[in-house]
Amino acid sequence: MTVNDLLLNENFSAITLPEGDRDISDVYIGDLLSWVMGRAKADDAWITIMSNVNILAVASLADTACIILAEGVTVDEEIMTTAAQKGINILTTELSIFEAAVAINDML
C-alpha cells in the first residue's frame, strides 16, 4: 500500500504529500524521538502526537514512509513548508493512535 492508497480512507488527510507514491510496509508508534530513530524501520508509517519541527529530521533520516499525526494533532505552517521541501509526507487523523494503527493494519 502506498501513502496515496491510505488516503483513500477518509479518516486520514494529507497535510503535506510530496511523495504520495511511497510504499508503507509496516507501522511504528512512538513519541520519544530516539526510540523512533532506533526502532522504526524504513518505509514504516510513523504514528505520533509529537508535532515539533524535530520530527522532520527523524522521519527523513529514519526514512519512514510518512508521519501520521493522531488525535487531530496538526503542525504549524513553517513545518509544513519545510516538510514539503524535504519530501516528507505528513498526514493527520482524528483517530486515536490505536485506532489509526488498526485502520492501517486493515489496509496493509
Binding site: L32, M37, V53, I55
Partner: protein, 140 residues
Amino acid sequence: MSEALKFHFEVDGKDFTSAGHASVMVKKNLRQLGLPPEKIRQVSIAMYEGEINMVIHAGGGVADVSVTQDYVEIVLKDNGPGIKDIEQAMQEGFSTATENIRSLGFGAGMGLPNMKRYSDFMEIDSTVGVGTTITMRVNI
C-alpha cells in the same frame, strides 16, 4: 575513490529548529554517491544522534565526515561539559536532559545506544570540563 571524500559542518548549539541539518546534508551526499540505502540509514541515524547530543548537551560543535572505499567515518567534536561516566551514559534510559528538552521528545536516553548499534566502530573520548569527541565508522 582513492582519496577520501570529506565534509565539514559547524553544528549550531542554540538553534533547535535546524538541529539535524548536518546529518540531512550527509544523507543527501551519500545518496548521490550511490551508497546502499541500508548503509545510508545507518550513517544517518548514528550521526543524527551524535549531532543532536552536541546541540542539547554540549552547546554545539563540529562534525567531520569522510567517505573512503571501505567505510564512512563520522567525527563529532565539542567543547561542552564532557561526560563524567561514559559507561553509565551508554546505558539505555540514562539521560540528564532537562524537562524542557524532554517535552520536545528528546531525553529517552537512547541516543548513545543507537549510535553504538548503528555503527560498526565507536569510540568516545571525553574529558569533564574540556569536551567530547566521538568517532564512529560504518563499514561499506
